[in-house]
Symmetry: C2
Subunit: 555 residues, 2 copies
């Protein structure tokens, strides 16, 4: 049997567009005389549709779309994901389903059994769990279809398992001769390698070939990397789709002699830093374009975060669609004008200079009766950031440009950012990138020639909101800060564990306290692109009014 | 058996404080010679702890707290909610549990079986479902303990049931002679009456008395109203705790002769408008105080929304802790100064006037090179709102006051509000109150004397961001708008259904389109107090980058 795996980039809720992509790739598979083409999880609606799933008309539109495809695609078997209705009045009203159809008929349906409900996933919110794992005989193969999470509960791989059944084992016991997994499995650093090991181990252990058909593209915060693949019954990878772009791969199971049907291992990015860069570029492009924008604006401070963001924006949207704005104040160092101008030239983006001191003075004049004789404090610093944020939003409004915010994960973690100021924006491009990784990405950009002026990379990080300020006045060195933050945020370690692992107790408590106290700022932050196992945003849900932090801090 | 039901207002994560409340009320119950005292769901940690449940040290602190209470409270049986660990390495790691303890020993534990995972509830994210429903014999009664949702799946009440079992039936079959339900059941309009009918029906149907012990207090967006109660085996209410405050009630099951142990029906609010007012006052107080603030600031525009918010703030925190700020511009009508000044006097809050035209002119001067010769548009309107928002945040920062935002639900729904402008704030007090209900609340406030100057109530609503502007220039009359919004947001009706029910098709599509296109603003909004069945915020989760809306709108 000759199989195609089509990895497409659907737009959530755009049934017409998604159908057209499905038909286009089904056509490509037919051209290559494939018996079957496999698409990803919920490909008809795009994943994740979130609460659109609660709208009856959305569900009906998704079913109509499936039925049209069943009618319109002929001469090839198609496996694709869709939302099915639960026919009984008990349990959740929907299923996350896969259909196998051919020549006007749905031959087989499967409902997802393991419903991820953690981090960014809320599937138990919408879906009833499936109850059956039965392979379906198609052209002589016993095809065992599973959906994403269904294959993530192998007891040899996961020490702690959150589900009680393993659909893969049940499919194999039922006689499956080919395992097909349709997925919407998001990117994070290291995930590609983990998946490859997991799927290879499953195929090898059960001695059954394994197909992984993944979604590609960005949907809000979540980035799907693709890398769809075919594993043979020894667990060897026989075909591999690219990462971070639409792709189609082919594999002929009739020729399992060790020679693949054709050159089918497509190039994917290597080092983490390259993967992250591609993820951010695709995530930015998809967010901006799927929101209906083509142009963006952002502030350039002369620092490394905004430089990186500007580079990503130019790569994602074309430099002609990016406007960068330099907004000096009395505290801006002289170098920064030169550095930002050079950067804008190097990457070819628009560049404007709008000094903010006049407005700042007018605000101070206005507020001085209320401020009385207090010394300047954080209020004046925030005020400058808010003036800049307001300038950028005015340009965004007037010119129809989406504003990109430029804060990194380390800053956002400890609240080293101003709500309604530099946090303004429709997308927080690097909000899941720790400061130390910001440097790695900058060096990666400059690996062949100097694109980001070296002075931007080398200067001491500073918010430049008061005289002679640097980040390290208030924060520990970023290497240490990022290690503590990773332990606390991604690995969910408590203060005790972090201190035991060797960090200074006072420092740990200080950092943790800052993270928790600034939850309210992140609650109002723009969505950010997720590239780690735990990003700020809707996969991390903390109460705002709580006193757990204070009670730790007192100890 | 003589039972006390203690309805307390826990602070999330403040184990010490919550313990002290539990011990205080256990003491009160002992004073009255009760055999047992019942507390609410997860009373030890406060509900909902959300992702704090993913922290190992949080779970350990909660268990230590339970064990200390078991040791320290003697001479009375105690039922209380806590987080238990799942002892096996399969399934979710936690249980939402109840313990019955007495004199240093935990006699009985129950795990919640039905885990709500919809709207604001994410329990499947954290908890493994319990598997047993067995009553426990205590002082001659067979006590069937259930936890909140466990009693919300009766087939005579719910036509569509989302769970496959009914723990109440199982408890009754197991011989329960007394049903005890510990809850954290949030307030919404009409919920109190629904609960009373539900619990009465359950008690009457099974001929078993029913105890409902509910949490009280606000935690972020969610407001718990209390109204804990005792129903006899005929479904009649025999004891009732107050709404929106801590309370304790007593009932003697030894005297089931129709005469209650003592006057135990405490007063609760009547009309919806009174309930909503109390909910908003408590919700505001609890959010501000639990976040560690005592003082607030808000902008007064001369309109009804900010007037209502100021009144609520004064009731919640004491008028001496509220600063109101009037910020006129060239478009502000002359009456508004008088009206706001009078309002501030009537409710006794601080009042400052800060005109914003100077800063506005300076911004326009600054931006004019970038704006070129375009006519003024929405950009200038947003700019004024952002200047005001920045002034308010400066006062918030300098004076340590939490900023309250004043937008209502109708505005927020259609995006009639400025992100980083009037949306600024730590709490959106009335963001779940439709404009028509804003009027009801204003009339309720003025029922005995004029507190909100009548001109504020009577004038045509206007954002006053351009000359002679009123809301009705851009929006349909609020009665119609609110009906469409309720259908779309709360009742999840689609465009088709709304048009069928008699609304103008063009109007419906226009309103729906506005709601969906402004999802990005609400994504960055302050938390708001939830009083309807569907509020904006974390109980309503829509993708931002999606094209379903546009595809409807094209039809």
């Amino acid at each position: 049997m000759k199989i195609a795996i089509a990895q497409i980039n659907p737009v959530i809720g755009d049934f017409e567009y998604n159908s057209s992509r499905i038909k286009y790739y089904a056509g490509k598979a037919k051209e290559r005389s494939c018996d079957m083409v496999v698409f990803s999880e919920l490909v008809i609606s795009g994943y994740p549709p979130r609460d659109l799933l609660e709208k009856k008309d959305f569900i009906e539109a998704n079913l109509s779309c499936l039925f049209r495809l069943v009618d319109e695609i002929s001469g090839i078997g198609v496996i694709c994901g869709f939302v099915d209705k639960n026919p009984v009045d008990e349990g959740k009203p929907l299923y996350n389903s896969a259909a196998l159809f051919e020549n006007g008929k749905i031959l087989h349906r499967v409902n997802k059994r393991l419903l991820p409900t953690y981090d960014v996933f809320d599937e138990s919110r919408y879906f009833e769990a499936g109850t059956e794992c039965t392979p379906y005989t198609y052209k002589g193969e016993q095809i065992g279809i599973t959906i994403c999470e269904d294959v993530w509960n192998d007891k040899d791989i996961f020490k702690k398992r959150i589900y009680h059944i393993n659909p893969v084992e049940l499919m194999v016991k039922g006689g499956a001769s080919l395992l097909v997994n349709i997925s919407a499995s998001p990117f994070s650093v290291g995930k590609k390698e983990f998946r490859r090991n997991l799927f290879g181990a499953i195929a090898g252990k059960h001695k059954v070939p394994f197909i992984f058909a993944n979604q590609v593209g960005g949907n809000d915060s979540i980035i799907f990397d693709g890398t769809s693949a075919v594993f043979d019954g020894h667990g060897n990878i026989k075909a591999l789709a690219s990462d971070f772009e639409e792709d189609i791969i082919f594999y002929d199971f009739g020729e399992q002699t060790g020679i693949t049907y054709e050159k089918n291992i497509h190039p994917v990015s290597g080092a983490d830093v390259e993967q992250v860069m591609k993820a951010l570029i695709m995530g930015t492009r998809d967010y901006v374009v799927k929101c209906g924008f083509s142009k963006v604006v952002l502030g350039l401070s002369g620092g490394i975060d905004s430089a990186l963001t500007a580079f990503i924006a130019a790569q994602a949207l074309g430099s002609e669609n990016v406007l960068s704005v330099f907004m000096p104040s009395r505290y801006t160092s002289a170098d920064n004008y030169e550095d930002t101008k050079k950067l804008a030239e190097n990457i070819g983006v628009g560049f404007e200079v709008i000094p903010v001191d006049g407005v700042f003075k007018e605000f101070i004049r206005l507020l001085s009766p209320s401020f009385r004789e207090d010394d300047p404090d954080i209020t004046e610093q925030n005020l400058q950031a808010r003036i800049r944020g307001t300038v950028l939003m005015a340009l965004s409004n007037r010119q129809g440009r989406l504003l990109l915010s430029t804060g990194n994960k380390s800053e956002l973690a400890v609240g080293y950012c101003t709500l309604y100021g530099d946090m303004n924006g429709g997308l927080a491009v690097i909000s899941d990138i720790p400061k130390t990784v910001v440097y790695d990405l900058a060096h990666f950009i400059n690996r062949e020639k100097e694109i980001i002026p070296s002075r931007i990379i080398e200067k001491a990080p500073s918010a430049e909101l008061k005289p002679d300020q640097t980040d390290q006045d208030d924060l520990p060195p970023y290497e240490i800060l990022d290690s503590i933050l990773k332990g606390y945020i991604e690995d969910l370690k408590g203060a005790g564990e972090l201190i035991e692992s060797g960090f200074d107790p006072k420092l740990v408590k200080g950092v943790i306290s800052k993270v928790d106290m600034n939850e309210y700022k992140r609650h109002q932050a723009a969505p950010g692109l997720k590239v780690t196992t735990k990003a700020f945003g809707y996969g991390r849900r903390y109460p705002l009014a709580q006193r757990y932090t204070q009670s730790i801090y007192k100890k």
